[in-house]
């Protein structure tokens, strides 16, 4: 399945500038294909998170449509869109995002338990093990380091094996070794068939990219010509 942005832009009001309107994301098309890992780089404030949030169904674009397959995300009711996000779109947001009243494994199982489904706890534990924090499954998030919390969020986004995986600086708090591991996991998810978008400052990330995009003051540009899905971490 493909996640497509068609003619999307995001405009914000800004009161203290010469013009009080500005585009965080200028009108652009973007397509995330299944099996591909797209890496999006760009300076701070260039509009990367804004683009990702629009793709995640969390921020209505000022213009254009987001299509998951044939479904126009923003034409759905909030209920339907939420359910779709739960099942098909894994989001790893910037910053730390855990529920402190739940332990680690309960946090990871959230996409299942939210709608009263079976928690898939065994899968969650296996995933946490793979991400290197298997020992922390039954610990409360308050006891975790920043990097460990981040991996909890990654596990939560990946647990349901969503068709689309959107990660906003997923390696920000991680050391080199774990950065490699996480990017490798995201890459693996892509190879397993997901459409993956990773926003990152990590210079090593290009190595994992099937496609490399760059954002510059709201303008999206392709850095290297789009490789077909067969081209992988070639150095």
């Amino acid at each position: 399945m493909m996640l497509k942005g068609v003619g999307i832009s995001k405009e914000f009001l800004r009161e203290s500038r010469g013009t009080n309107r500005f585009f965080a994301v200028q009108e652009t098309d973007i397509a995330l294909e299944s099996g591909q890992m797209t890496v999006l780089m760009g300076r701070s404030g260039s509009g990367k998170s804004t683009l990702l949030n629009m793709l995640a169904g969390l921020m209505q674009p000022s213009s254009g449509h987001i299509l998951l397959g044939d479904t126009d995300l923003y034409a759905l009711s909030d209920k339907a869109l939420s359910r779709l996000r739960c099942e098909q779109i894994g989001v790893i947001p910037q910053g730390q995002t855990v529920l402190h009243s739940l332990n680690v494994v309960q946090n990871v199982c959230l996409p299942y338990t939210l709608y009263g489904e079976d928690a898939h706890e065994a899968d969650a534990r296996a995933l946490l093990e793979r991400l290197g924090i298997g020992a922390l499954c039954d610990v409360k998030p308050a006891e975790l380091s920043g990097g460990e919390l981040r991996r909890v969020a990654i596990a939560r986004a990946m647990l349901r094996k969503p068709a689309v995986l959107l990660a906003d600086e997923p390696t920000a708090d991680l050391d080199d070794e774990n950065t490699e591991a996480v990017l490798g996991d995201l890459k693996q998810a892509a190879q397993d068939g997901a459409a993956v978008l990773v926003v990152t400052h990590e210079t090593g990330a290009e190595r994992f990219a099937d496609r490399l995009l760059r954002m510059n003051a709201g303008a999206l540009a392709e850095v290297s010509p789009a490789g077909d899905s067969g081209v992988s971490d070639g150095l």
């Binding site: 359910r83 529920l99 338990t113 009263g116």
Partner: protein, 399 residues
Amino acid sequence: MKQSLVLRDLAGRPVRTAVLTVLTALLALTVLGGTVIVTSLRRGLGALESRLGADIMVVPYEATTQKKFENIVLQGATGYFYMDSARAEKVAQCAGIGQISPQYFLASASSGCCSIPVQIIGFDPETDFTITPWIRRSYGGSLQKNDIVVGNDLNAFVGDTLKFYGVECRVAAKLDRTGTYFDTAVFTSAETIRSLIASSQALGMNDFADADPSKSVSCLLINAAEGCVPEEIVNDINLHVKRVKAIQTKEMISGIADGLAGVSAVIGILIAAVWVLGMVILLLVFTMSVNERKKEFAVLRIAGASRGMLAGLVMKQALVTGLLGGIGGVLLALAAVLPFHTAIESRLGLPFLLPAAGTVVLFALAAILLSVLTGAAAAAVSALRISRIDTALILRGEN
């Protein structure tokens, strides 16, 4: 949404959960406690009114100057006074009287001659219209010589024998509770009380002056005839019969009614104040917790929760804390009011008659419902705000 999330989140925030629960408990406690107390006072007044059971009471003038009569009837003091039956006959001749019946008062002593110091009230079974209907409720037979009927608070039971001035009296019945001072009195027929008065005179235990028990009564109870105004009868008696005082029952208990109105108003204000304060604090706690929890709600959004589910989470938690608090508060109120009703009664100095168990249960359920609704109302504002959060914006704030 899975219930466990609602509960886990409550458990994960013990302080907030405790504050919400305790607050709601306080609301339920005041509303139920207050309602039960006010209702009991109303019932107490009603019971007193129906126990007095007459429009007019006529007593010897001396009894009113010393407040003896009011003290016996309203304050539970023991005492006695008599007037000549000739005076009583004159009263009976006044116009507009529908029913009239004499009563006889005697106070038992605490010394060896008597089992307990109580007020003994004698009535004339032939004419009585106030005490007999009340006795009928717990005793079907007629009172034989030396049979007595005891008030509910007395530590005596049917079949027991109590001794007054050397006379052994059999307890024929125990009356229902009235919440008035009648609950500590003993009732008997005119015939029995006359013999008790005579025995006490023989023992020299009371100061009866010149009373001849066979020719004396203590007071007269009068009901106005159809279409007659009690006030006119009272004026008529006070004008034409010497050395007696006719009192309208309504006026006599107006002091108690005033006291009741005062207490009710204070309780009403108290309930209102606690509720307003409670609502404000509840609203505050919910609003504060919305701000504090925004981030967590954003996480739920990302994981796929709809806006409705977030609002539902807030509302369900409010229902849980409301229910817990409501039940807790109701239990506290019942534990505070039910066992201590006699203490409350003597503290307030007003007749106090607890409502029937069914009514209390009904009040309790209403208090719980009210607490839950209040919690829900306070949470609704927050639920609405939560359901409108802009997830993307919240996540930005945390970068």
